[in-house]
Protein backbone atom coordinates (compact mmCIF):
# COMPACT_ATOMS: atom_id res chain seq x y z
CA UNK A 1 0.00 0.00 0.00
CA UNK A 2 2.91 2.33 0.54
CA UNK A 3 3.33 2.91 -3.19
CA UNK A 4 -0.29 3.90 -3.39
CA UNK A 5 0.19 6.34 -0.50
CA UNK A 6 3.19 7.77 -2.27
CA UNK A 7 1.18 8.33 -5.44
CA UNK A 8 -1.63 9.95 -3.49
CA UNK A 9 0.79 12.18 -1.63
CA UNK A 10 2.44 13.15 -4.88
CA UNK A 11 -0.82 14.37 -6.35
CA UNK A 12 -1.88 16.01 -3.11
CA UNK A 13 1.25 18.08 -3.28
CA UNK A 14 0.47 19.13 -6.82
CA UNK A 15 -3.03 20.33 -6.06
CA UNK A 16 -3.34 22.39 -2.90
CA UNK A 17 -6.39 24.55 -2.51
CA UNK A 18 -6.07 27.45 -0.20
CA UNK A 19 -8.83 28.95 1.88
CA UNK A 20 -9.59 32.51 0.88
CA UNK A 21 -9.76 33.87 4.43
CA UNK A 22 -7.81 37.07 5.09
CA UNK A 23 -7.17 36.71 8.81
CA UNK A 24 -4.66 39.50 9.19
CA UNK A 25 -2.70 42.16 7.39
CA UNK A 26 -0.56 39.60 5.57
CA UNK A 27 -3.49 39.15 3.24
CA UNK A 28 -2.28 42.21 1.36
CA UNK A 29 0.58 40.21 -0.13
CA UNK A 30 -1.72 37.45 -1.33
CA UNK A 31 -3.21 39.31 -4.31
CA UNK A 32 0.26 39.88 -5.85
CA UNK A 33 1.08 36.23 -5.18
CA UNK A 34 -2.13 35.11 -6.85
CA UNK A 35 -2.06 37.48 -9.78
CA UNK A 36 -0.02 37.98 -12.87
CA UNK A 37 3.37 38.73 -11.38
CA UNK A 38 3.90 35.64 -9.25
CA UNK A 39 0.92 33.53 -10.28
CA UNK A 40 0.77 30.76 -7.74
CA UNK A 41 -1.82 28.91 -9.81
CA UNK A 42 1.06 27.44 -11.80
CA UNK A 43 1.84 25.30 -8.74
CA UNK A 44 -1.76 24.15 -8.60
CA UNK A 45 -2.60 26.43 -5.68
CA UNK A 46 -5.98 28.07 -6.09
CA UNK A 47 -7.98 30.17 -3.63
CA UNK A 48 -11.22 28.53 -2.55
CA UNK A 49 -14.24 30.16 -1.05
CA UNK A 50 -15.22 27.75 1.68
CA UNK A 51 -13.38 25.64 4.27
CA UNK A 52 -14.99 22.43 3.04
CA UNK A 53 -13.12 22.65 -0.23
CA UNK A 54 -9.79 23.83 1.11
CA UNK A 55 -6.59 21.98 1.90
CA UNK A 56 -4.50 24.85 3.24
CA UNK A 57 -5.46 27.30 5.93
CA UNK A 58 -3.29 30.35 5.58
CA UNK A 59 -3.07 32.35 8.79
CA UNK A 60 -1.98 35.66 7.36
CA UNK A 61 -0.60 37.40 10.38
CA UNK A 62 -1.72 38.18 13.91
CA UNK A 63 -4.86 36.63 15.32
CA UNK A 64 -7.13 38.64 17.53
CA UNK A 65 -8.99 36.59 20.10
CA UNK A 66 -12.19 37.03 18.16
CA UNK A 67 -10.54 35.77 14.99
CA UNK A 68 -8.96 32.82 16.77
CA UNK A 69 -12.43 31.51 17.50
CA UNK A 70 -13.39 31.71 13.83
CA UNK A 71 -10.11 30.17 12.78
CA UNK A 72 -10.64 27.21 15.07
CA UNK A 73 -14.16 26.72 13.67
CA UNK A 74 -12.80 26.98 10.18
CA UNK A 75 -9.97 24.58 10.83
CA UNK A 76 -12.32 22.00 12.24
CA UNK A 77 -14.64 22.33 9.26
CA UNK A 78 -11.84 21.56 6.86
CA UNK A 79 -11.41 17.96 5.84
CA UNK A 80 -8.28 15.93 6.27
CA UNK A 81 -5.65 16.07 5.00
CA UNK A 82 -5.29 19.75 5.82
CA UNK A 83 -2.33 21.97 6.48
CA UNK A 84 -1.79 25.25 8.26
CA UNK A 85 0.66 27.90 7.17
CA UNK A 86 1.66 30.45 9.77
CA UNK A 87 2.39 33.63 7.92
CA UNK A 88 4.54 36.40 9.37
CA UNK A 89 6.27 36.93 12.68
CA UNK A 90 3.02 37.54 14.55
CA UNK A 91 2.03 33.89 14.29
CA UNK A 92 5.37 32.74 15.66
CA UNK A 93 5.61 34.76 18.85
CA UNK A 94 3.26 37.70 18.56
CA UNK A 95 5.74 39.76 16.60
CA UNK A 96 5.23 43.46 16.97
CA UNK A 97 2.10 42.83 19.04
CA UNK A 98 3.96 40.90 21.72
CA UNK A 99 2.34 42.94 24.49
CA UNK A 100 -1.11 43.39 23.02
CA UNK A 101 -4.09 42.35 25.09
CA UNK A 102 -6.06 41.08 22.12
CA UNK A 103 -3.52 39.24 19.99
CA UNK A 104 -2.44 35.69 20.67
CA UNK A 105 1.25 35.04 20.85
CA UNK A 106 1.99 31.62 19.47
CA UNK A 107 -0.34 30.03 16.99
CA UNK A 108 1.08 26.57 17.50
CA UNK A 109 -0.58 26.31 20.88
CA UNK A 110 -4.06 26.51 19.40
CA UNK A 111 -3.88 24.72 16.08
CA UNK A 112 -0.99 22.69 14.66
CA UNK A 113 1.14 24.63 12.23
CA UNK A 114 3.01 22.85 9.46
CA UNK A 115 5.13 25.70 8.17
CA UNK A 116 5.95 29.17 9.44
CA UNK A 117 7.02 32.00 7.19
CA UNK A 118 9.08 34.57 9.06
CA UNK A 119 9.08 38.27 8.39
CA UNK A 120 6.75 41.22 8.50
CA UNK A 121 5.61 41.19 5.88
CA UNK A 122 6.95 38.14 4.04
CA UNK A 123 7.51 38.79 0.38
CA UNK A 124 5.55 36.87 -2.26
CA UNK A 125 8.73 34.95 -3.03
CA UNK A 126 8.79 33.79 0.58
CA UNK A 127 5.17 32.70 0.33
CA UNK A 128 5.84 30.74 -2.83
CA UNK A 129 8.92 29.25 -1.22
CA UNK A 130 6.80 28.09 1.69
CA UNK A 131 4.26 26.57 -0.65
CA UNK A 132 6.96 24.70 -2.51
CA UNK A 133 8.42 23.51 0.80
CA UNK A 134 5.01 22.39 1.94
CA UNK A 135 4.54 20.58 -1.34
CA UNK A 136 7.79 18.71 -0.77
CA UNK A 137 6.80 17.89 2.79
CA UNK A 138 3.41 16.63 1.65
CA UNK A 139 4.95 14.53 -1.05
CA UNK A 140 7.36 13.00 1.43
CA UNK A 141 4.49 12.46 3.84
CA UNK A 142 5.96 14.69 6.53
CA UNK A 143 3.24 17.29 6.93
CA UNK A 144 1.02 15.55 9.44
CA UNK A 145 -0.22 18.47 11.53
CA UNK A 146 -3.81 17.34 11.24
CA UNK A 147 -2.95 13.98 12.77
CA UNK A 148 -1.22 15.75 15.62
CA UNK A 149 -4.39 17.73 16.19
CA UNK A 150 -6.48 14.58 16.46
CA UNK A 151 -3.95 12.93 18.79
CA UNK A 152 -3.61 15.96 21.06
CA UNK A 153 -7.17 17.16 20.75
CA UNK A 154 -7.57 17.64 24.51
CA UNK A 155 -4.40 19.67 24.79
CA UNK A 156 -5.36 21.98 21.94
CA UNK A 157 -8.94 22.27 23.16
CA UNK A 158 -7.73 23.18 26.66
CA UNK A 159 -5.50 25.90 25.25
CA UNK A 160 -8.29 27.24 23.07
CA UNK A 161 -10.78 27.27 25.92
CA UNK A 162 -8.28 29.04 28.12
CA UNK A 163 -8.36 32.01 25.77
CA UNK A 164 -11.85 31.80 24.33
CA UNK A 165 -13.95 30.69 27.27
CA UNK A 166 -12.70 32.88 30.08
CA UNK A 167 -15.04 32.96 33.02
CA UNK A 168 -13.13 35.26 35.35
CA UNK A 169 -10.95 38.33 34.86
CA UNK A 170 -7.40 37.53 33.86
CA UNK A 171 -5.83 40.20 36.06
CA UNK A 172 -7.65 39.63 39.32
CA UNK A 173 -5.73 41.78 41.81
CA UNK A 174 -5.97 44.90 39.66
CA UNK A 175 -9.65 44.35 39.14
CA UNK A 176 -10.15 44.64 42.89
CA UNK A 177 -8.47 48.05 43.03
CA UNK A 178 -10.42 49.90 40.35
CA UNK A 179 -14.03 49.12 39.92
CA UNK A 180 -16.38 51.41 38.07
CA UNK A 181 -18.48 53.69 40.24
Amino acid sequence: MSEWTEIVDYFRGRSMWMLHYCTGCGAIELPPTMTSRWDMERFGITPMATPRQADILLITGYLAIKTLKRVVYTYEQMQAPKWVLGFGSCTINGGIYWDSYNVIESLDKYIPVDIYIAGCMPRPEAILDAFVKLKEMVQKGEAKGYEKYVKNYDWYKANQDRVLKRTSPVLKEIEKVTKIG
Binding site: I65, W98, S100, E105, K148, D161, L171, I174, T178, G181
Partner: protein, 165 residues
Protein backbone atom coordinates in the same frame (compact mmCIF):
# COMPACT_ATOMS: atom_id res chain seq x y z
CA UNK B 1 -13.45 82.41 11.35
CA UNK B 2 -12.44 84.71 14.10
CA UNK B 3 -16.02 85.68 14.98
CA UNK B 4 -16.80 82.12 15.96
CA UNK B 5 -13.94 82.18 18.42
CA UNK B 6 -15.16 85.52 19.77
CA UNK B 7 -18.70 84.26 20.09
CA UNK B 8 -17.57 81.15 21.90
CA UNK B 9 -15.48 83.31 24.22
CA UNK B 10 -18.50 85.45 24.94
CA UNK B 11 -20.30 82.30 26.00
CA UNK B 12 -17.84 81.95 28.88
CA UNK B 13 -16.07 78.96 27.38
CA UNK B 14 -12.33 78.60 27.19
CA UNK B 15 -11.12 78.34 23.63
CA UNK B 16 -7.84 78.52 21.84
CA UNK B 17 -6.25 77.77 18.50
CA UNK B 18 -4.38 74.47 18.27
CA UNK B 19 -3.14 74.96 14.74
CA UNK B 20 -3.89 76.81 11.55
CA UNK B 21 -7.15 75.01 10.91
CA UNK B 22 -8.37 73.87 14.27
CA UNK B 23 -9.39 75.24 17.65
CA UNK B 24 -10.31 73.63 20.91
CA UNK B 25 -13.25 74.43 23.13
CA UNK B 26 -13.23 73.43 26.78
CA UNK B 27 -16.70 73.00 28.12
CA UNK B 28 -18.13 71.74 31.39
CA UNK B 29 -20.08 68.52 31.26
CA UNK B 30 -23.53 70.07 31.62
CA UNK B 31 -23.00 72.54 28.78
CA UNK B 32 -21.66 69.97 26.33
CA UNK B 33 -24.92 69.39 24.47
CA UNK B 34 -25.54 73.12 24.15
CA UNK B 35 -22.02 73.74 22.84
CA UNK B 36 -22.17 70.96 20.32
CA UNK B 37 -25.57 71.97 19.00
CA UNK B 38 -24.39 75.59 18.78
CA UNK B 39 -21.38 74.48 16.74
CA UNK B 40 -23.54 72.26 14.59
CA UNK B 41 -25.81 75.19 13.82
CA UNK B 42 -22.72 77.26 12.97
CA UNK B 43 -21.76 74.87 10.20
CA UNK B 44 -19.78 72.17 11.98
CA UNK B 45 -22.09 69.57 10.55
CA UNK B 46 -19.78 66.61 10.17
CA UNK B 47 -18.94 64.51 13.18
CA UNK B 48 -15.43 63.21 12.74
CA UNK B 49 -14.72 61.33 15.90
CA UNK B 50 -15.04 60.85 19.60
CA UNK B 51 -12.06 60.06 21.73
CA UNK B 52 -11.26 59.88 25.39
CA UNK B 53 -8.17 60.57 27.43
CA UNK B 54 -7.69 58.95 30.81
CA UNK B 55 -6.11 61.56 33.11
CA UNK B 56 -5.57 59.09 35.90
CA UNK B 57 -3.62 61.41 38.20
CA UNK B 58 -6.25 64.12 38.32
CA UNK B 59 -8.98 61.48 38.31
CA UNK B 60 -10.81 62.54 35.18
CA UNK B 61 -11.80 61.22 31.83
CA UNK B 62 -11.56 63.82 29.10
CA UNK B 63 -13.97 63.29 26.24
CA UNK B 64 -12.90 64.78 22.94
CA UNK B 65 -15.45 65.48 20.23
CA UNK B 66 -13.97 66.31 16.84
CA UNK B 67 -16.24 68.30 14.51
CA UNK B 68 -15.61 69.47 11.00
CA UNK B 69 -17.02 72.32 8.97
CA UNK B 70 -16.72 71.92 5.24
CA UNK B 71 -17.70 75.52 4.50
CA UNK B 72 -15.21 77.14 6.86
CA UNK B 73 -12.56 74.42 6.41
CA UNK B 74 -12.19 74.38 10.16
CA UNK B 75 -12.04 71.73 12.81
CA UNK B 76 -13.53 72.21 16.24
CA UNK B 77 -12.26 70.04 19.06
CA UNK B 78 -14.64 70.10 21.98
CA UNK B 79 -13.33 68.75 25.24
CA UNK B 80 -15.13 68.02 28.43
CA UNK B 81 -14.06 66.34 31.64
CA UNK B 82 -16.01 63.86 33.69
CA UNK B 83 -14.97 62.28 36.99
CA UNK B 84 -13.22 58.95 36.72
CA UNK B 85 -15.05 57.52 39.70
CA UNK B 86 -18.48 57.98 38.17
CA UNK B 87 -18.04 58.24 34.41
CA UNK B 88 -21.55 59.04 33.22
CA UNK B 89 -22.49 61.50 30.50
CA UNK B 90 -25.47 61.99 28.26
CA UNK B 91 -25.41 60.55 24.80
CA UNK B 92 -25.05 62.87 21.81
CA UNK B 93 -27.04 60.49 19.63
CA UNK B 94 -29.74 63.13 19.28
CA UNK B 95 -27.35 65.43 17.44
CA UNK B 96 -25.52 62.82 15.37
CA UNK B 97 -26.83 59.28 15.19
CA UNK B 98 -23.32 58.32 14.18
CA UNK B 99 -22.08 59.39 17.59
CA UNK B 100 -23.77 56.39 19.17
CA UNK B 101 -21.33 54.06 17.45
CA UNK B 102 -18.36 55.96 18.85
CA UNK B 103 -20.00 55.99 22.27
CA UNK B 104 -20.40 52.25 22.12
CA UNK B 105 -16.67 51.99 21.47
CA UNK B 106 -15.79 54.38 24.30
CA UNK B 107 -18.05 52.44 26.62
CA UNK B 108 -16.17 49.31 25.80
CA UNK B 109 -12.66 50.74 25.99
CA UNK B 110 -13.07 53.13 28.93
CA UNK B 111 -16.20 52.00 30.70
CA UNK B 112 -18.02 55.28 30.29
CA UNK B 113 -21.80 55.19 30.59
CA UNK B 114 -23.72 57.20 28.03
CA UNK B 115 -27.24 57.82 29.22
CA UNK B 116 -29.75 57.64 26.41
CA UNK B 117 -27.67 55.40 24.20
CA UNK B 118 -29.68 52.21 23.73
CA UNK B 119 -26.89 50.20 22.21
CA UNK B 120 -23.93 49.81 24.56
CA UNK B 121 -23.32 46.15 23.88
CA UNK B 122 -19.80 44.74 23.46
CA UNK B 123 -18.42 45.79 20.14
CA UNK B 124 -14.78 45.05 19.37
CA UNK B 125 -14.02 42.65 22.18
CA UNK B 126 -15.61 39.33 22.88
CA UNK B 127 -16.10 37.90 26.32
CA UNK B 128 -14.18 40.72 28.02
CA UNK B 129 -14.20 40.41 31.79
CA UNK B 130 -11.30 42.62 32.92
CA UNK B 131 -11.35 46.38 33.37
CA UNK B 132 -11.75 48.30 30.12
CA UNK B 133 -8.45 47.95 28.27
CA UNK B 134 -7.66 51.52 27.30
CA UNK B 135 -7.72 52.78 30.88
CA UNK B 136 -4.30 53.74 32.14
CA UNK B 137 -4.40 51.28 35.02
CA UNK B 138 -4.92 48.32 32.72
CA UNK B 139 -1.60 46.58 32.20
CA UNK B 140 -1.64 45.08 28.75
CA UNK B 141 1.75 43.40 29.11
CA UNK B 142 0.75 41.60 32.29
CA UNK B 143 -2.53 40.59 30.68
CA UNK B 144 -0.79 39.28 27.61
CA UNK B 145 1.80 37.35 29.59
CA UNK B 146 -0.82 35.88 31.87
CA UNK B 147 -3.21 34.81 29.14
CA UNK B 148 -1.06 33.96 26.15
CA UNK B 149 2.40 33.12 27.39
CA UNK B 150 2.39 29.85 29.15
CA UNK B 151 4.68 26.89 29.14
CA UNK B 152 3.37 23.69 27.68
CA UNK B 153 3.27 21.92 31.00
CA UNK B 154 1.72 24.68 33.05
CA UNK B 155 -1.86 24.05 33.90
CA UNK B 156 -3.17 27.49 34.90
CA UNK B 157 -6.17 26.12 36.61
CA UNK B 158 -7.25 24.07 33.62
CA UNK B 159 -6.38 20.43 33.54
CA UNK B 160 -4.06 20.55 30.60
CA UNK B 161 -3.11 17.18 29.18
CA UNK B 162 0.41 16.48 28.03
CA UNK B 163 1.13 16.81 24.36
CA UNK B 164 2.07 13.65 22.50
CA UNK B 165 4.49 14.09 19.64
Amino acid sequence: MADIIDEIKSMDLKTSWLGDWEFEVLTPKDRLAATLSYLKAKGFKAFMGLSCVDWIEEGNFELVYILQSYDLALEAIVKTKIPRQRPVIESMGTLWKLCEVYEREMHEFFGIEFTGNPNLKPFFLENWLDIPPLRKDFDTLAFSEELFEFKEDETHGIKSPKRIE
